[in-house]
Amino acid sequence: MQKSITIHLIIKVWRQENATAKGALASYSLRDISTDMSFLEMLDVLNEQLTHTGDEPVAFDHDCREGICGMCGAVVNGQAHGPESGTTLCQLHMRHFKSGDTLVIEPFRARAFPLVRDLVVDRSALDGIIQEGGYVSVNSGGAPDANALPIAQKHAEAAMDAAACIGCGACVAACPNASAMLFVSGKVSQLALLPQGDPERKERALNMVRKADALGFGSCTNERECEAVCPKSISISNIARLNREFLRAMVS
């Protein structure tokens, strides 16, 4: 492993005490950041520094720090999850920045994501959408032998591509309409591609889309920003499939 180098940065980060308080960007300078650090480790260093100087550390969500739990996320210099494509904020490393860079870090903003504190937002609306039909209605017990239902490899793989969504909400934050259609389409596609999803197909598409509207997410006008920022590179062809599912459900 080559020896890591260190860089100096100006960090401008959104500070807001709670949902109703007034927020603003605050500016901090950070020195000697190793380029091997992850973005969140850089924020850890900032927070240790703030704590020692008697300031409140910056609140930010995170948990797995390996790009799978969907807990982390912020807009960095205007891009959800930062400049690297197919990467969550926790998997973004500081080697992608240069010494002297200014990083503007803001929360994921959307009407359906009320702010909790600093970079933390409430994304429970996404759970609300899944509760409207993002499942197969089977109870535990009594399932037939797993191999009794062969599924062509290409369908299983396509379903897996759609199912890889981590529910981080970057697609919503990046969309000018704050639409959640990429998120909805991932789940609808996964279950539309698999025979298990067939019986509830219509209700699923209708109910999930309507719920997204009701929860304050906007509609999709094909801006493609969602696909560009998705850390799991979920394709917007899923939205096309969702549209077909939705239309099919409407006409029948």
Partner: protein, 637 residues
């Protein structure tokens, strides 16, 4: 106190069926009168909450994260075992049972492990019915891969995201029950205490992490599915919020803590690279299907790997263990990596790494095939290290990964507190002194979908369904205690941050109670931990207020518990003067440096009982008996 595991009598293969038959049932019309509290929404918690709700119980489910889908189970990569024998390679329920009990170095209960193997097949059926997109063969059948400690292919997987897909399956069932009104979901809540009335678990105290308020919830039974305590070591492969708090507070209320020293150190993780490091990333064990582990034969050889010729490399696992090769169990692989590094043959910047090399597999199967199997792991490795495993071997080193120890439970998964059930990684039940790969997902889902839903009836059927009222003396007392603890933490205005203490504790545990342990080191840790704890309570620094979203306060509470819990771990490691599985006591090794058990003296589960603040815990023993397998010296040669 005599620990009664309540193992059913009769032949091994019939125990579970006859136990189910003899278990008490709660009349369907009465189920809705019972409230069950489930803490945790990982594989164990989500599957239990959904299934109990399907049966008709009212369920309240709690989780620290902002959504049940984010529980740490989401991060599991490699796969889940089941005894389907779809590969026709000689697998069976008995073989899965045998491999698991041997893998655990004969320190688990036969009856539990057998039951786990039995229900393993139902899990796969259940998950497929939910729409979990497992990997498939061209013919549409389910695909399998191999994991360590087994010579059959029985691991089902969804790329390198098996935990994610299984958890999303359980989460989908849970979501359906939330919609149906049978589960009430409480996110961003942290359980801070267990409430006992007349010696029975009757509720919990939680902190609402957004408002900071303490809340009381009552139920006829409490189910803890709060995961493992690997983060006691600070650096581990666990998610940052993984903690021991819920289990530890239950321990302080009388639940016994079993085998806390059994901690699994996973052999294939990305090595530590700096003191700012916050977590270690696992590279799934499945990589050992195709990756070959090696170090240079010569000490201190720091040439780039490509310059080291084939005959200058030591493929030490293949050499030492010809039958299992790179697929030896985790404890064996980890110890051998440490041994090579201790011998001065480690590689990389810190010399604390070994190579995991895919060259041969790429030459054999082609890049495309290897990328299809491991693409997301390779990408993750490259993101972190900036190196491409297709062109140079990975560097790996062992890291804390999983905790076999946990709250003691009987065959019904009930702790020593009546009405307190413990599932998943939070209990100690099935993995003995070492867990085989792909068996934690199996255990979590077995506990939640198929075991607890049957066994909880035995308790509830004997419990009145009168509403549990919150606000009584026991609830008030528990809330006051939680509150005063938070206030003590908020009063800490010293010089050292919470993370700083956590790192110090972690480093100490890693050195003295990690991959190899000895009496002197463990005793040293027993003096040192109380010192760190004392300094934490005098010189710690906690910012902010209680009545707000305060992540420093959250972490401080968890670290405070680790600072007490770490000591129990060390007590346990010190008392177990034998080596078994992951617990290597340097004083007890074979001539070839393998773990040497002492069955005459230590064939028991060590269950520790709380004796009050600053008093050593009391050891209780549950003797293990083996009627269907003969404990042998494990050999993977």
């Amino acid at each position: 106190m005599i620990l009664n595991a309540k193992i059913p009598s009769g032949p091994l293969a019939d125990k579970w069926d006859s136990h189910c038959f003899q278990s008490k049932l709660v009349n369907p019309a009465n189920k809705r009168k019972y409230n069950v509290i489930v803490v945790g929404s990982g594989l164990a918690g989500a599957s239990a909450a959904a299934t109990l709700a399907e049966l008709g119980y009212n369920v309240s489910c709690f989780t620290i994260q902002d959504s049940p889908r984010r529980a740490h189970s989401i991060a599991a990569q490699g796969g889940i075992n089941a005894a389907k024998n779809y590969q026709n390679d000689g697998d069976s329920i008995f073989r899965l049972f045998y491999d698991t009990i041997k893998g655990g170095d004969f320190r688990s209960r036969e009856a539990n492990v057998y039951r786990l193997a039995q229900v393993s097949n139902n899990i796969i059926d259940q998950c497929v019915a939910q729409g979990v997109p497992f990997a498939r063969e061209y013919g549409g059948q389910l695909a399998n891969r191999s994991f360590g400690g087994a010579q059959v292919s029985r691991t089902f997987y969804a790329r390198g995201q098996t935990g994610q897909q299984l958890l999303l399956g359980a989460y989908s069932s849970l979501s359906r029950q939330i919609k149906l009104g049978k589960v009430t979901m409480f996110t961003r809540r942290e359980m801070l205490d267990l409430v006992l009335e007349d010696g029975q678990a009757r509720g919990i105290i939680v902190r609402n992490l957004i408002t900071g308020e303490l809340e009381q919830y009552g139920g006829h039974a409490v189910v803890l599915a709060t995961g493992g305590y690997g983060n006691a070591f600070y650096l581990s492969t666990n998610a940052m919020a993984s903690n021991v708090t819920a289990a530890f507070r239950a321990y302080k209320r009388g639940a016994m803590m079993a085998n806390p020293c059994y901690v699994q150190i996973h052999p294939t993780c990305i090595p530590v690279h700096g003191d700012y490091q916050s977590k270690l990333t696992l590279m799934s064990e499945s990589l050992r299907n195709d990756g070959r582990v090696w170090v240079p034969k010569k000490k201190g050889d720091n040439r780039p790997p490509a310059d080291i010729l084939e005959n200058e490399r030591d493929y030490y696992l293949e050499q030492k263990y010809p039958s299992f090769g790179n697929l030896v169990p985790r404890d064996v692989a980890s110890r051998n990596a440490k041994e090579q590094c201790d011998l001065g043959k480690g590689v990389g910047e810190t010399n604390l790494a070994v190579y995991l090399d895919f060259d041969e597999a790429i030459a054999r199967d082609g890049q495309a095939t290897i990328m299809k199997k491991y693409g997301n792991l390779f990408q993750m490795y490259e993101k972190i290290t900036d190196k491409n495993p297709l062109t140079e071997p990975m560097m790996i080193y062992p890291a804390v990964h999983y905790t076999m120890g946990g709250l003691w439970v009987d065959y019904d998964l009930m702790s020593t507190i009546p009405g307190l059930f413990v599932l998943g990684e939070a209990n100690f039940s099935d993995h003995g002194a070492n867990r085989l790969g792909a068996s934690a997902l199996m255990q979590g889902l077995a506990d939640g979908y198929f075991i607890l839903p049957y066994t909880i009836g035995n308790y509830l059927a004997k419990t009145s369904h009168d509403q549990v009222q919150v606000g009584g003396d026991a609830f008030t007392e528990a809330q006051q205690q939680a509150d005063s603890k938070l206030n003590q933490l908020l009063a800490l205005k010293g010089k050292r941050t919470v993370d700083d203490f956590h790192k110090e504790l972690g480093a100490l545990l890693w050195d003295e109670c990690g991959m190899a342990r000895n009496k002197v080191g463990l005793q040293r840790a027993l003096t040192k931990i109380p010192e760190i704890r004392a300094e934490f309570w005098s010189n710690g620094l906690v910012t902010g207020q209680g009545a707000e979203f305060n992540q420093t306060l959250e972490r401080a509470g968890r670290v405070a518990d680790f600072l007490e819990f770490g000591e129990i771990m060390v007590h346990d490691a010190l008392a177990r003067e034998e080596s078994c599985g992951c617990h290597l006591r340097e004083e007890s090794q074979t001539a070839e440096n393998e773990a040497l058990r002492d069955d005459d003296k230590f064939s028991y589960v060590a269950a520790w009982q709380y004796q009050g603040q600053d008093t050593a815990p009391k050891l209780h023993k549950e003797e293990l008996s083996f009627e269907n397998v003969t404990p042998s010296q494990r050999s993977y040669k």
